[in-house]
Amino acid sequence: MLGSVKQREEIFAYLYQSSGWREWVVRHVSYEGGDEPAGEDVFQEVLILFDRNIREGRFSKESSLQTYFLGIAKQWWFNRRRVARPVPLSPEYDQPVHDNPERMALRQERQDMIEHILSNLGEHCKKVLELYKLSLSNEEIAQELGLSSPEMAKKYTYRCREKFKAFVLGRKDILEHLDIQLEP
């Protein structure tokens, strides 16, 4: 997950097809009031969370990766069920709920804003931002994008990030949401 785009794709394919984690999640969700499509959905969203946590160093290595993944899945499904339909808590899941209506509304608003920004970014810049966030080197970014040199990748990354910034700074509604005051 910390490797190249190709390596990441290989690990996701492995986790989906051969690890047995997906089957476990689907069984768990089915057992806990969901069905197979819901289980597939949980697996997908948990994989996204898991990937981000690994990349951002949140996995403390106190358990195995499998235990960590399945733990996230259990918590994720628990939270989702509680939002959809309040149920009595079992001791195992008795954890504080971090979401409240205001927080959820804010999160939704931010999500909408992100969608809006994405729809205004060119495909090329989207790819650049994604690769940059994956902490790929300029050489790897150049390779992914078929650029002629790492220096070109550096230029493109800088340029896309500046474009992103200019777009956001040009939008009053976004700035208000971010609570950003521009210098007079």
Partner: protein, 304 residues
């Protein structure tokens, strides 16, 4: 803000949670005091969220592909080669016989061609779009009156732009052109291998029939145009780079916009409207990755 410059440089580490507790506390304190720093952090945080949304979407897309494609367990077993071995041997034998036959035929044919009188008009293959010329342009025989009439410049006059173009030209890195998921046994891979060996003739020969419908056309066309440039087929290189540039698909188009200038320059076309228009187009975009190079090129040309 200036006092907080060290914090400013640590925004990414702060957002990624990599700061030590004392550094984090210092950053949080600075955020309360410095609105510009706070703005930068919020902008960067939003950029991170947008990037993460893209990464998440990519994972979702991959899982959709995996769901719709058969898993390794359900894939049909590989063809058992031994069942077809006699057939393969037969095909190999027939191909060998055919190859020997062609070789023998060619050997027989050579003296006949040599007997053709030298006064007979030399047959040249028709020059099609994206096909390989037999000789580099500069070495074309003077039997082509059109070129003879148009090239009125002295050697010194044409040598300067050519020298400038070849100095500015940078051979692209093979690995970046290769992409991340190289496929074996396709013409593009064959061409890349030839490129690696600097066998530009083979590159051109391999890629000349790649059409725009091919999903790898952009990569192939780029490689082809670079090979043509290295072979000094500047007109064809300019044509190839122009086709890529005019597609307006970044990043390919922007790189091609630079290289078409070099190819036109090398081809002695720096005085043409096409060259000037393309040059000004690049200079109109300050964010163009080759803006600086193009500006320098223009200044350089103005000197001469």
């Amino acid at each position: 803000m200036n006092n907080n410059r060290p914090y400013y440089e640590q925004i990414e580490a702060f957002l990624s949670g990599y700061l030590a507790p004392d550094q984090r506390a210092a950053m949080e304190k600075a955020l309360l005091e410095d609105s510009e720093l706070a703005r930068e952090v919020e902008l960067r945080r939003l950029e991170f969220d947008v990037s993460e949304a893209l990464i998440a979407q990519n994972i979702r897309d991959q899982l959709v592909r995996l769901r719709t494609s058969p898993s390794p367990e359900t894939q049909p077993p590989a063809i058992q080669p031994y069942k077809f071995r006699p057939l393969l041997w037969l095909i190999a034998a027939l191909l060998s016989i055919a190859a020997i036959g062609i070789y023998w035929w060619n050997q027989q044919a050579i003296p006949i061609i040599e007997k053709v009188p030298s006064s007979a008009p030399q047959q040249t293959p028709p020059v099609l779009e994206n096909t390989v010329p037999i000789q580099p342009q500069e070495e074309k025989p003077p039997t082509q009156p059109a070129q003879k009439n148009t090239s009125k410049k002295s050697k010194n006059e044409s040598a300067q732009p050519l020298a400038l173009a070849t100095t500015l030209y940078q051979r692209p890195d093979l690995e970046t052109l290769r992409g991340t998921v190289p496929m074996t046994n396709d013409v593009y891979q064959v061409a890349l291998s030839a490129w690696e060996k600097q066998d530009y003739v083979a590159v051109v020969a391999t890629l000349q029939n790649v059409t725009t419908n091919d999903p790898k056309w952009l990569r192939a066309a780029t490689l082809l145009a670079h090979a043509q440039f290295n072979l000094k087929y500047f007109a064809q290189a300019a044509q190839g780079f122009s086709a890529i540039a005019d597609r307006k698909i970044r990043p390919w188009s922007e790189e091609a916009e630079w290289y078409v200038l070099l190819a036109l320059l090398a081809d002695g076309k720096a005085g043409t409207t096409n060259f000037r228009t393309r040059l000004e187009q690049v200079l109109a975009d300050e964010g163009h990755p080759y803006f600086e190079e193009t500006r320098e090129l223009k200044a350089n040309l103005a000197k001469h």
